[in-house]
Subunit: 230 residues, 4 copies
């Protein structure tokens, strides 16, 4: 079959994506800064895990050596990581702003460039970015997150205009809200489960983007729970 | 099963939608100003056809009497009609502007209100509008189309914010480009088939919106062919 | 000097505009459905008043006969009227939706077309529309206002793309918030005066758009009070 | 009077801004990586020049020591620098992407934070960012510029929401097109002077933002030449 790469695995969305892609027959590579926590998911999905700090060129290079090690073509590449710091603008530590740009946007570029090199050659493949409402609306006391997610959206939009005519599909999924447990039903008693996104539900939209025929491609889609005001 | 209503049937997209919805087991009502041309499609999909000028309240009322005549719940309502006139602003006949607003936006309201009345009661159902890039970008020499499609988008966005928390899913599909024949392969020798949207491909996205769990709803998605510059 | 036309006079913004334009030496025509209330302002600014239902072609034609009656060129045309109805979508009277489209958008087209005919000839002039945040964001329980103001924005954007290269400046001013009394200082004790826009402050931005050299034109600007969340 | 700071001086826009602010009576500090080229402008406007690499925290700290050295309050702070690299995504040197983020967005944060600390205290002041159409539309073969300018816009929007209620005005000016010589009249014979923005015309809009009463603040304005298609 084909290979799917997920960078930034750990939270519920990545796990849902991994399970759904595995169920479709994709071979999987899961990359994370801390691969220790991925053992269960890797066992369940037959995935290879790779330790990788996404904002470091050398780590990303090493990850793609792993991608090239197998015989399967890279069909899907998904980028999830982000860094955020909340706080009054005047109080922010500048290093957290730089980290936000590095982890949220620069790492996305590093993965996307490597993935694009392999996909453009075959005029085929899908690159997906996990965005946030902070990428379309800059919230107060959240400048670093806004900067990182806006930059990510700019990358995705520029890539869509550049790579779509080369046969590579680029998608930016704006996740508006907090992600709850798969299957719904938050454990926490002070969270309204209807106010959270079920990661399995989000993952379905990722799959539908992967499935889109190139005659009618979307480059962006915004998802939020039915009860969410926006 | 359940009932699906398509208003503004005739072009390739409506026919693709009708076939895919019928294949899923929906009962169908197809409404058009001229139902003569729908006989083949109606026969193929088992649909009921209703003559209806979408911008006329009384026609829309009559159409929904037909919707209520059966025993099935209205699960899906899709609005397609639009009117456009190209030309320099200074040369436009004001009546064409009014018609554009009526057919593209006011008729959409009429259908959406009737559909919403039935869906809100059951806290369930999907209302979809066929938009255009003219609804997000006002092109020169095309003021009437811009006015109509912007108004349609305003309706859809207002409805999404109002009806999502009531369990009714509202979607606005921005179709960016001209729609070619189903299955691709334009008959015309001077059209690049890659530059047209395959109506079957568009219809797949309508279905994926209908399928979205309410935990992760999109209210808008933009579709264009892979080779389209934007 | 030159002539300035303001359609939809009555509220504080129109009066501020009239005073500031008169102070700059423009001759003024003020149009409103009810001109009775304009006597004071007309006296103060030396304006001619014309009774006009902006959504009626024949009224708009008559208004522009008045525009042509003098010897001055039409340099500025401003459109303010809008109609809104609040309420649940399912409860709206369809006639209020049609009225909202007519007053907010169709009347704007009627004025803009007549103004453009006179300005394109001279490759000079400014046409300004008073928008609202409802034109960029569709609020719940406010579908008619969203439809009208979105349509108005589509008109303005289409016109900007078409008429700017012909030397006619088109501007859409998004007023986000309620307009208080000129000079600030709300009479009402339960309104925070900081939360309202001073019409004199808004009018200053209209003037700055009129003043922009064509080398650096804006087609849209959003205004809100400093304390307004958005 | 009051102090105005311009970071990233050199091109025509900064010089126009410096001249117009000086003419209004502001004391000026002009910061640039290479201050050698600023001698003439500094002499003409009575400005102090400071050598500063805007993306370096220590340089920015040193610049604001200079700001604090005088007795005047910082009333205006303007950030202009940007870095761009054109080219196919697959061919880009990752270091140019990081530089684009650093110069275009991170440096803007550094200046804005320091300026905000001084302005929030007095609940007064204006911070302006020079944006580009690349910040609202990601162009192909221009990913680094898109990333940097999108991030800048995210910063500006987040700051506007956070600082406006604290009395500090934040503005993002989208300059759409190339900037020609002040006063128009391009020297080059193969440039249409109408297709370029006159920096004096752009600077007028910066001044009008500085002048806006807080009752009606804009946080963004887009400027382009009248003949520019968009």
């Amino acid at each position: 079959m084909a290979l799917a790469l997920i960078v930034g695995v750990g939270d519920g969305l990545s796990a849902s994506l991994a399970r759904k892609l595995a169920a479709r027959g994709y071979s999987l590579i899961l990359a994370a800064r801390d691969t220790g926590k991925l053992e269960g998911l890797a066992g369940e999905t037959g995935a290879t895990t790779v330790q990788c700090d996404a904002a470091l060129s050398e780590d990303m290079d090493r990850l793609f050596e792993e991608v090239d090690a197998g015989s399967e073509d890279l069909a899907v590449a998904i980028y999830n990581p982000s860094a955020r710091t909340k706080g009054a603008l005047v109080d922010l530590d500048p290093t957290t702003v730089r980290t936000a740009l590095d982890v949220t946007a620069f790492g996305a570029f590093l993965m996307a460039q490597q993935a694009a090199r392999r996909m453009v050659r075959r005029q085929s493949g899908t690159i997906l970015f996990t965005g946030a409402s902070a990428g379309v609306k800059g919230f107060p006391r959240s400048a670093p997150f806004a900067m990182g997610k806006f930059a990510l959206r700019g990358l995705a939009q520029s890539m869509a205009r550049e790579l779509h005519p080369q046969g590579v599909h680029v998608g930016h999924v704006v996740v508006d809200g907090s992600i709850g447990p798969a299957g719904g039903g938050s454990q926490s008693t002070n969270v309204n489960p209807d106010a959270q996104l079920d990661p399995d539900a989000i993952a379905e939209t990722y799959l539908s983007l992967i499935d889109q025929p190139r005659s009618a491609w979307a480059w962006e889609i915004e998802l939020r729970p039915w009860v969410e005001t926006f």
